[in-house]
Amino acid sequence: MPNIIDVSDLSYRYQEAGSRVLDHVTLSVKQGEWLAIIGHNGSGKSTLAKCLNGLIQPEQGNVVVSGYNTKDESAIWKIRRRVGMVFQNPDNQFVGATVRDDVAFGMENHGVAREEMLQRLDEALKLVKMEAYADQEPHRLSGGQKQRVALAGIVALQPLIVILDEATSMLDPEGRRDVLETMKLLNKQRGLTVLSITHDLDEAVHADRLIVMNEGKVIRQGTPAEIFQHAELLEEIGLDLPFAVKMERLLRQRGLEMTERPLTQEGLVNALWTLRSTM
């Protein structure tokens, strides 16, 4: 699969005298994959996200999105149309007075013709299962519902990639699950590339690939299984391991070896009940 985002040697700092928030970061995002960037608060992962659609310009290095460099000012709106972004606070990104208005906001900005807008609007709302709320006002929606509306607004723009910048961190467990389900749907059914930026490892285990960041540097890349082989490293940089990983480690210390290391609760349960099975 071709790369849709290439980041090379990217560095950035907020104040000229300050320390580097991003320190020579090089990474790429492949088309169609679900990539999770994990790291503790202040590891630079949110700053990295803002570099990917040109909200922040790199101090050094380049960010190239499907052939367009973010430094190229004439391409910035093309880039933003291809890179959708969901932010952390559901309230502070809801622009429209109703769900319909909010989903349409992005399309209005990019000059989508009205007829097509209406069609995409219905389609996007159906996809995130919010069609019943089309005329609702934002203050009547839960956090999870607002984030799904935000996703609909992005899907309607038919982007290449959706970046979720801690998009589930302010939600209750139910809202988090709904948003996660929607993300899976977009990734698997729509073939949309998903880049989720998170410190929640329970969310990260669903990704195809993980990138671990600490103090502005990429310190490790790999599949979830590979990354969680070195659970100690994740704990060292201040991340909270998923329950299944912790449990497996404790069981292993007690001498209970499982054939494969489970990452989710379901995987753990399956590993346990088949442990003594000889079939």
Partner: protein
């Protein structure tokens, strides 16, 4: 304030609801102006008739209109009393000490009260039958010509709709801060006016800080979603001017002429 701005709109199916917001806005402004032309029973009768007809056409239960009127009853009452006692002329109806009520005063105060009431009824009817989005869209469209003289009409409309959208959010937040401060022993309800005023400060500061933070995040989210001003922008809402809108304006025009004729 909350109820005045957004809590009012009642979504329903009626002729008045279906009217284009532009025709409703123009009619409302025109109506408020021509009310001042009325100076006799006939013209007031015509205005009241128009109000009743509009209410009937809106299919709104009368209690909604009444709710809107309730808050201004005091003002109406006050103007009634003032006009009653301070307008002289005509037959002396009542006299007690230095208080005199003349026939002209009575008629005048009834007229003035009706004048205020019909204005309130028509403006209430507009906000009851037109959603805030429609009003904003209507205003943007009506003010569109002012763009030529470089007035930021689109930005103004966007600001208005974002403010409306954030009113409930900020109210919720205010409530949360009040509770948080009350939990730490802050007292808003007792004490002298000065101490109550002082208690409001620790409420306003966090509210402002958070509002600024929200504004910053919202601006970034809007930029990420491709907002770059009015240029090349399409709109989801389309305003359609129908025959019924032209008819409404015609009715208003006829009423204006009638009121001028009735005056003499």
């Amino acid at each position: 304030m909350f109820n005045l701005v957004i809590g009012q709109y009642v979504p329903m199916e009626s002729l008045v609801h279906r009217l284009d917001p532009r025709s409703k806005l123009i009619s409302m402004f025109l109506f408020v102006i021509i009310v001042f032309l009325a100076n006799n029973w006939l013209s007031y009768g015509l205005l009241i008739l128009f109000c009743l007809a509009s209410i009937t056409a809106s299919k709104l239960p009368f209690q909604f209109i009444y709710r809107g009127l309730r808050s201004v009853f005091f003002i109406v009452f006050l103007t009634f009393i003032l006009n009653l006692f301070f307008t002289n002329g005509g037959l002396l109806l009542f006299s007690w000490g230095w208080l005199h009520i003349y026939l002209n005063g009575l008629i005048q105060s009834i007229f003035i009260s009706f004048r205020i009431l019909v204005i309130i009824v028509i403006t209430t009817l507009l906000t009851l039958t037109t959603s805030p989005i429609e009003i904003t869209d209507g205003l943007e469209s009506l003010l569109h010509p002012l763009k030529r003289i470089k007035l930021p009409v689109h930005e103004f409309a966007l600001m208005m709709s974002i403010s409306l959208r954030f009113i409930p959010t900020l109210l919720e937040e205010t409530e949360k801060i009040i509770k948080a401060q009350a939990a730490r022993g802050s007292d808003f309800t007792t004490g002298s006016i000065k101490s109550r005023f002082k208690a409001v400060v620790p409420l306003l500061v966090p509210l402002f800080v958070s509002a600024f933070k929200r504004a910053e995040e919202l601006a970034m989210a809007m930029e990420a979603r491709g907002y770059h001003g009015d240029e090349g922008r399409t709109k989801l809402h389309r305003l359609v001017w129908n025959n019924r809108d032209t008819v409404l304006l015609l009715i208003l025009a006829i009423m204006t002429i009638a009121l001028i004729l009735f005056r003499y």
